[in-house]
């Protein structure tokens, strides 16, 4: 039987070794899953998971569709993908203090999405391990119709039409 796929992404700009290391450690203990990680030019050495610097957009689409769960940095691309593909999302924010991003906006993203159905926030390594250990019991995120989005689309189409 095919093993479930855990898809991991640190986005397209910067590596995020704190996240990948934790996942690699977890995967080294639990062999019942396949883990594929887009690591954005990480220099780390990971033996228990498959890593790729950058996936092509079609590979990304394929893996995210197949994944049982998506684990990632708290980037909007990752989050929107989880909603589009109806997958549970485990998110860990990059921290400026560790040189993981240019500022701390990912921490404000995780606090805004905390409690949203299908979004699971790992504030530290322990919480990440705890979420990974029950990866097959997590609820999927869902891209329900969004009144806020329709409002924004209506406004923008009016501005464009009237220029």
């Amino acid at each position: 039987m095919k093993k479930p796929l855990i898809f991991v992404t640190t986005g397209t700009q910067l590596p995020f070794d704190r996240l990948i290391t934790q996942i690699n450690n977890w995967a080294s203990k639990d062999k019942q899953v396949n883990v594929i990680a887009q690591t954005a030019n990480s220099n780390g050495d990971y033996h228990s998971i498959k890593t790729v610097d950058f996936l092509t957009p079609s590979e990304y689409d394929e893996y995210t569709s197949e994944a049982t769960v998506i684990v990632g940095h708290a980037g909007m691309g990752t989050i929107i993908t989880g909603f589009e593909k109806n997958k549970p999302l485990i998110l860990m924010a990059r921290k400026f203090q560790f040189g993981e991003h240019r500022n701390d906006h990912q921490q404000s993203t995780t606090s805004k999405f905390d409690g949203v159905k299908g979004v699971y926030i790992a504030n530290d390594e322990q919480e990440l391990q705890a979420l990974l250990s029950r990866y097959d019991q997590l609820e999927p995120a869902s891209d329900e119709s969004s009144p806020n989005r329709n409002k924004l689309i209506d406004y923008l189409s009016t501005v464009i039409e009237n220029c």
Binding site: G11, T12, Q13, T56, P57, S58, D61, G75, M76, G77, T78, I79, I80, T81, E84, R102, H105, Q106, S108, T109, S111, K112, S146, N148, R149, N150, K151, L152, I153, D154, Y155, L156, S157, V159, I160, E161, C163
Partner: protein, 147 residues
């Protein structure tokens, strides 16, 4: 029909540009992004790829700006709209210099304050939108969000 130049870096910015696509779908649109193969995923034919850049990479930003100038002049849009980041800002600056309508939609990722590019865009954009109600002020409007 308006000519819309719609710009977003690959990743979350592009995802948001796609979620808002119904707003400009009926116009003549040229899309600009930074990752090859991305527009094809969304069945987009009219697009251009530019090199990505951020504030730490000045040379790339210059190259990206030159690419954007060529795209801009060839397409000559009525409207420039972007969801960020740096390449979108470059497009807005060109739009402003050429007296075109310019729209900045700040990424939904910025919930505490406007992005750096968003703050700079206030000087060049006719419309600056945040996707978080609490960030709206005299120069930045809240008109909805992708979520």
């Amino acid at each position: 029909m308006k000519k819309v130049l719609a710009i977003a870096s690959g990743g979350g910015h592009w995802k948001q540009l796609m979620l808002l696509k119904p707003a400009y779908d009926s116009q003549t649109v040229k899309y600009v992004t930074t990752i090859k193969g991305l527009p094809e995923q969304n069945n987009i034919n009219n697009f251009a790829i530019v090199c990505d850049s951020n504030k730490n990479e000045k040379l790339r930003a210059i190259y990206s700006f030159i690419q954007m100038i060529v795209i801009f002049i060839r397409f000559w849009p009525d409207v420039v709209i972007t969801t960020g980041a740096a390449p979108g800002l470059l497009g807005l600056i060109l739009g402003k210099l050429c007296f075109k309508k310019t729209i900045w939609v700040d990424s939904v990722a910025n919930a505490e304050q406007l992005s750096l590019c968003g703050k700079i865009s206030k000087k060049f954009a006719d419309v600056v939108l945040t996707q978080w109600e609490q960030l709206a002020d005299d120069s930045t409007q809240y008109k909805g969000s992708v979520f």
